[in-house]
Symmetry: C2
Subunit: 206 residues, 2 copies
DNA sequence: TCGCGAGTGTACCGAGTGGTACATGCCGGA
DNA sequence: TCCGGCATGTACCACTCGGTACACTCGCGA
């Protein structure tokens, strides 16, 4: 009856938060997988190619993750976690004016070293909008994750709650759109100039 | 030497602009293909599934387009053409204030009937950023196509050329970001409110 | 020293892919 | 009436895919 050869087959340890010996290898593999996927895309990845790229056989990926589907889920989850960590680093430095804080945030977001991660983000958006199951979780945090700190910043700057939320959502959309523009055109100067135009309107001329 | 059986094999007529009997069938097929792809995604389409969905055998798709690759190119091109036609319909009606024109444009863009097309657009963006060859042309028109009419509108409203370009690029990015927000969250009211916030800042309170 | 279990590689399977070869049916002109 | 060319279907090919079966090699406890 058993579909596999082993009565306790390929346990693909749930690693996750456990830093045990199992989870080590698992976490190491998923980290390498995310790096590869950020560099080469996730759309047409295959277990064999991915395995060859990160130095294991596709058999091992099945062993550790159970199936390709679960490996992709893990990759998306880890990529989301990285993005979240990036977001948490973007705490506002107290002495800074809002516009200057926004400017620094933009420059951190557009660091060329993050380009792969950003491209992966947009790629996952596209797939998530199509309902590809492992990518759908991206949609959940797409707006809400970023809205919360932005709204907090707006209210701290004295906006009433409703207008704070609207302003935050508007600002997030603009930054996203400019990021896509930058990735698509590579026109750093042009996009930076458009951002300055945005900042001037958003935070007033001063 | 010939790889195919026929000395004049599967001519996959270049149809294109020619409305002859060949191009008719070809154009009809590519139209149906775009519809299907807009509804079900382009990422994992196969000739067999696509053929079954639009009522031909995969053999016929190869016959008319030569290869899957060329069919995808044709699909992207046609989808781009549709988008361009949509854009050309969005002429400013003379008697309208700028803000009201922008509001109408937004409502047309977010027509639920266009959701499939918009999703396809973002899906293609994701693939194009990865360098998938048939999707790359999307990147070319991504900014420039829209910038031109927007810049024209800005200069007509009295902005100097440099600021017109920056404003247009900024506005385009915001609308794109809000569109992605809407597709991802479905929160029509929230996104509309954010758009109103944008319009208030962009065109002044008046 | 033995054995056992975890980790790993290799070979394989069925399914699905893009693409090809060939047969068949159909229609218009001689 | 016949015939040639086009459209289309069916069967097939080589290949890759995700996933499985099994053999092998270690290290470690008894």
């Amino acid at each position: 009856m058993a579909k596999t050869d082993d009565p306790n087959p390929d346990s693909h340890p749930q690693g996750g938060t456990v830093p045990g010996t199992d989870g080590d290898r698992r976490a190491q593999l998923v980290d390498a997988a995310v790096d590869h996927v950020a560099a080469h895309g996730i759309a047409d990845v295959s277990l064999r190619r991915l395995g060859a790229a990160i130095g294991v056989s596709h058999r091992m990926l099945i062993h550790y993750f159970g199936s390709k589907e679960q490996l992709l889920v893990e990759i998306v989850r880890t990529s989301e976690r990285r993005r979240r960590e990036l977001l948490s680093q973007l705490r506002l430095e107290p002495g800074l004016s809002s516009v200057e804080a926004a400017r620094r945030l933009w420059h951190r977001l557009t660091d060329p070293g993050l380009a792969g991660q950003e491209r992966l983000f947009f790629e996952l958006c596209g797939q998530a909008l199509r309902g590809r199951p492992e990518a759908v979780p991206v949609l959940d945090g797409l707006v809400s994750d970023w809205l919360e700190p932005l709204v907090a910043a707006e209210t701290a700057a004295g906006a009433d709650p409703v207008s704070a939320r609207n302003r935050a959502r508007f600002g997030l959309a603009t930054v996203r759109g400019l990021l896509l523009d930058l990735l698509a055109t590579g026109d750093r100067a042009g996009v930076d100039a458009a951002l300055e135009e945005f900042l001037r309107l958003y935070y007033g001329p001063e």
